[in-house]
Symmetry: C2
Subunit: 202 residues, 2 copies
Amino acid sequence: MARSSFHHGDLRNALLREGEALVGDGGPERLSVREAARGAGVSSAAAYKHFDSREALLRALAEVGFERLRLALEEAVAGVRGRRRDIAEATLRAVGRAYLQVALERPGLFRTMFGRWSAPDAVVPVDHGAYEVLQRVLDDLAARGALDARLLEGADLVVWSAAHGLTSLVLDGRVDLGPDREPAWAMDLVMGRVASSLAPRP
Amino acid sequence: MARSSFHHGDLRNALLREGEALVGDGGPERLSVREAARGAGVSSAAAYKHFDSREALLRALAEVGFERLRLALEEAVAGVRGRRRDIAEATLRAVGRAYLQVALERPGLFRTMFGRWSAPDAVVPVDHGAYEVLQRVLDDLAARGALDARLLEGADLVVWSAAHGLTSLVLDGRVDLGPDREPAWAMDLVMGRVASSLAPRP
DNA sequence: TGTACATCAGTGAACGCGCGTTCACTGATGTAC
DNA sequence: TGTACATCAGTGAACGCGCGTTCACTGATGTAC
């Protein structure tokens, strides 16, 4: 990590790394340009050679997080095995668990991705492919008859809301599962119900 | 609002009111003791006669919010009319809409209630009866045969997650409903599916 | 292969800011006699 | 009904802080000839 020369060489990434460490535990409000620069062993002014402002750095961090979520969802879905009958439920559970895991790994980064840390009315358009992954997955399942095609409209909303909601509640400590119950258990339960609500009906 | 005498008389409430205004649009990070005091027409030191710290003020604001949510849920549920066949779905929709409405009315207060604005690892135990309202409602519905009693375990989690998830996504601008679609439409859809997943099965 | 030079990623000092919190204080209020 | 006094909700000044951002600058790098 020590820098041998005047030039850092990889400062942009170093700042992202430090920024993620700050934000990862403490959330977006923990990020300071000065501290990230300090962590990278560089003057705070140097950071402005790579990011226009604190907010630009936060936005870049959110993008990193969304990309990670996208990859996690892709992987989770690709890893699903199951009999034809169970495939929808197994897939949604995998999605939910991946969502939860990404969030738990870096709670503050998750809040950076979804929170409104900029000006109250500013839209923070972090475009992400994670949502599209889910939509594709649902389309596939419907095409294979594992989900009711008539219920496809808004199904993405239902799944995403449930996964996001439970995850947020867990992250913010607003859900009491009692002893011996892991968040993943709760996610399985929730996604199981969601799957059953989308199952093909006679 | 003008104060005639040396003593304010109702400073605690005035601070809560100002605090809510600050937090209501901007979220917890917008709250400053100084600004709340300024708004109440009082020195910042005076605020400390009523709240131990900035964090104590935030906690009090969160409590105000939770109480409001509880009342909104009670009201919403009490106002549900419907034929026996539809009662579960109608009730859950009412719950979801009330949840959404409370959040949209004061987005920043909602984030104050649920966010982690204190030290990263600190638990913020704002105990609230809103959750209990939901549990009671579900029990009632099951007792009347409107929900499948065998699915009652965890049903509260499912409902709360879905409502909370969609609400959070809407609040953070992370859901694209397209034109002509209101958040309430999305909530009806989501809660409709949730209700169907809990419906009595043959 | 050597040299002049443009580029640009760094430095470090400084700006102005608003904040949370504390302090010794003051004066309005209400109670005991 | 009047008075002495304890209480305590206010004041205003001050503390130390870390922050975002800008500035004129310097020196390493790489390219044109």
